[in-house]
């Protein structure tokens, strides 16, 4: 059995089982926990396998490559899957400790697993249309989770989230359609080959801009970020941690995949624009964070400024830039979700996360304070914590490219991040105002802190073992950049040939052969394609006997 399917199958089957198994119970919780641990195990295995073997490919229904649906996991996808599993595991455990079984909403766990399904599918898929479908699965689950336990204040904040993401998805579908019309395929490997032959075409840049805009909405980049800091604080803490860790990062993943694997590799206006938008987002978001006075609000704005660091690194678009982006993703997912969880523990002790009414946490929970300091200073980027290395890589790469303004923006953003973190520290931990009450007798906060502790150990590991983590990221970035290897892996996957059904289809196959293909029935996608394309299409169409190899020559000149 092909293990590439497992991350998707596990999440989907867990979601469906819990949907049928309606009553929340300890056994049901144990089942979901077991499934998530299994997901983590599979993801770990996938990281090892894709490290040693390169991209792993699965053909859905065993259909031959450019025709059938293909799932591809390279090292970058495997790392993202692993991070997703870790985040979901932490959120799940925290949620179990936070909420007794009798108060659990019966739909929370199934929806969470559907969300994980959408996230996993986005990382696994090897074609643009399935990326759209996976995004939709993820978004619909996220809409439902956002409004599942919402009160009437929360529900007002949910509408903008839903509305802007709907527009984003619709534009995504439009972009998918245009890509199909223009390039005649949606498979990443196939697209990259065709896009190469059109490198420098302004229409390609336009399509790229449209797609980047769509992914920018998901990631929360500058003009289109306003939904995020309003909707995330309304979520229950464990869900907010998962959302803040994973959802925006799916957008970044899609950007890296698009620019690294699919689009031609020259640095164009597209990358330049992305870098500048990121620089702007960083500053605007970090200033937004200063305006907030409750922990979840501050942290939500910081998601945006941190996301902008990653997209800035992607915008630099050198192998080191993408390495920095991947390293930053690894660091950020762990740190950001654990900060949300720490905020949740604080809110559990103080019964509020309004900084004006918090206080006195240091005396009761010094351990929590230490964890907060580790993660907050890592977010701000102090050595030797993980955030420092991410920022260091980005700044060095920026200086090498002589992007002094952008580097300056990132340094200012880091300083202001430190300011916000100190604000939380001073208000929640250090001060002891008379009006704040610490409910230390609440039994929940200790196990909840232990979950955060495990996450902190992980992020300290990334920081102190930065050498290994950077090597992992560099290898992943290499995999993203090495499009020949990606194509080779995908195209050489053997499957059923499309027109190999049986004798009755012989005639069909004859008609689909190159001479017919070039007469235009397959190439009905308008005149936008380059003349050489039909020829390459002819290559791919194999005779009814299926004797011709499924993989094509990869060295097609441009």
């Amino acid at each position: 059995m092909n293990l590439v399917a497992l991350p998707i199958l596990l999440t989907l089957s867990t979601a469906l089982t819990t949907l049928v198994w309606r009553r929340p119970s300890t056994a049901r919780r144990g089942f979901v926990l077991g499934s998530v641990v299994a997901q983590l195990g599979v993801a770990t295995w996938l990281v090892f396998a894709s490290w040693t073997k390169g991209p792993l490919v699965m053909l859905m229904g065993n259909w031959g490559v450019p025709w059938g649906i293909v799932f591809v996991i390279d090292l970058f996808s495997a790392i993202m899957l692993w991070l997703a599993a870790v985040t979901v595991l932490a959120g799940l455990l925290y949620g179990f400790y936070e909420l007794p079984v009798r108060l659990e909403h019966p739909l929370r766990l199934p929806l969470l697993q559907f969300l994980a399904f959408g996230i996993h599918a986005s990382f696994c898929t090897g074609d643009l249309f399935n990326l759209f479908v996976a995004f939709e699965v993820m978004l619909i689950a996220s809409y439902a989770l956002l409004t599942l336990e919402a009160d009437n204040w929360d529900i007002k904040q949910a509408f903008p989230y839903v509305a802007i993401n709907l527009v984003g998805s619709t534009l995504f579908l439009g972009a998918v359609g245009l890509v199909y019309g223009f390039l005649g395929t949606l498979n990443f490997a196939d697209l990259s080959e065709r896009a190469d032959s059109l490198a420098g075409d302004p229409r390609l840049t336009m399509l790229g801009t449209l797609l980047l805009m769509v992914f920018g909405i998901k990631a929360g980049l500058f003009p289109l970020y306003y939904w995020l800091p309003h909707s995330y604080p309304t979520l229950p803490t464990p869900l907010a941690a998962i959302y803040s860790g994973m959802l925006t990062k799916v957008g970044i993943y899609a950007m890296v995949r698009l620019l690294g694997t699919v689009w031609p590799h020259e640095r164009t206006l597209l990358h330049e624009g992305l870098a500048w938008v990121s620089g702007f987002t960083m500053l605007v978001a970090v200033i937004g964070a200063i305006s907030r006075n409750y922990i979840r609000g501050i942290l939500s704005f910081h998601i945006l400024s941190q996301v902008a660091f990653m997209t800035l690194a992607v915008g630099f678009f050198t192998p080191w830039g993408v390495t920095a982006a991947i390293f930053y993703i690894m660091h950020h997912i762990i740190v950001k979700s654990s900060l949300f969880l720490i905020g949740g523990v604080g809110a559990c002790l103080n019964r509020t996360d309004d900084l004006a009414r918090m206080g006195g946490l240091w005396r009761v929970a010094p351990g929590l304070g230490v964890l907060f300091l580790c993660q907050a200073l890592s977010l701000a980027g102090l050595p030797p914590l993980s955030g420092f290395w991410g920022k260091y890589l980005i700044v060095v790469e920026g200086l090498r490219l002589r992007e002094y303004v952008l580097v300056g923006a990132s340094v200012v953003a880091s300083l202001l991040t430190l300011f916000s973190m100190i604000k939380i520290w001073m208000a929640a931990f250090w001060t002891e105002p008379s009006h704040s009450v610490v409910h230390a007798e609440d039994p929940r906060w200790r196990p909840m802190t232990r979950v955060v502790g495990a996450m902190t150990v992980l992020s300290l590991g990334i920081g102190l073992g930065a050498e290994g983590a950077v090597q992992l990221a560099a290898r992943a970035a290499q995999g993203v950049f090495n499009r020949e290897a990606y194509r080779q892996a995908v195209m050489s996957a053997r499957g059923k040939e499309v027109f190999h059904f049986g004798p009755a289809q012989e005639e069909t196959a004859r008609r689909m052969r190159p001479e017919h293909a070039s007469s235009g029935q397959l190439g009905a996608k308008g005149g936008a394609r380059s003349p050489g394309d039909f020829q390459s299409e002819g290559h791919r169409i194999v005779g009814a006997s299926g004797r011709e190899p499924a993989c094509r020559t990869l060295d097609k000149g441009t």
């Binding site: 249309f129 479908v133 939709e136 619909i140 809409y143 439902a144 409004t147 009160d151 009437n152 204040w153 529900i155 007002k156 949910a158 509408f159 839903v162 509305a163 709907l166 527009v167 998805s169 619709t170 534009l171 579908l173 439009g174 998918v176 359609g177 245009l178 199909y180 019309g181 604080p233 309304t234 305006s291 907030r292 006075n293 409750y294 979840r296 609000g297 809110a347 019964r351 509020t352 996360d353 309004d354 009414r357 009755a504 289809q505 005639e507 069909t508 008609r511 017919h516 007469s519 235009g520 029935q521 397959l522 009905a524 996608k525 308008g526």
Partner: protein, 118 residues
Amino acid sequence: MQLDSALLTGVLFGTATWLILQGSFVRILFGFILLSHAVNLLVLTMSGEPSGKQAPLATESGPWVDPLPQAMILTAIVISFGVTAYLVGLLYRLFLDHGTTHAGSLYAGDSTEHEKTK
């Protein structure tokens, strides 16, 4: 045919954008519905000029219409149907909670602070 589709897509996109920029959430809902129609039409157009082509059946002799965009639209219609249903539900909940679905009165007097205590 291609020109007609392009014009219609343009008109639908324009109207949808105008509706989405309104303050009333019900109009935004209708704007979204129109937008998804516009995009579906756009994707349909990508299968090329249909005149003189056959349905893609093995028993028919070519040239055929490219069927893939239609398959994509089918998926997209299911998704947008589900999401629209969700949006209607959300809008009804908003109306029950607040008695209005107009952004102007819904967010009037909101400070940026989250007043809730958890």
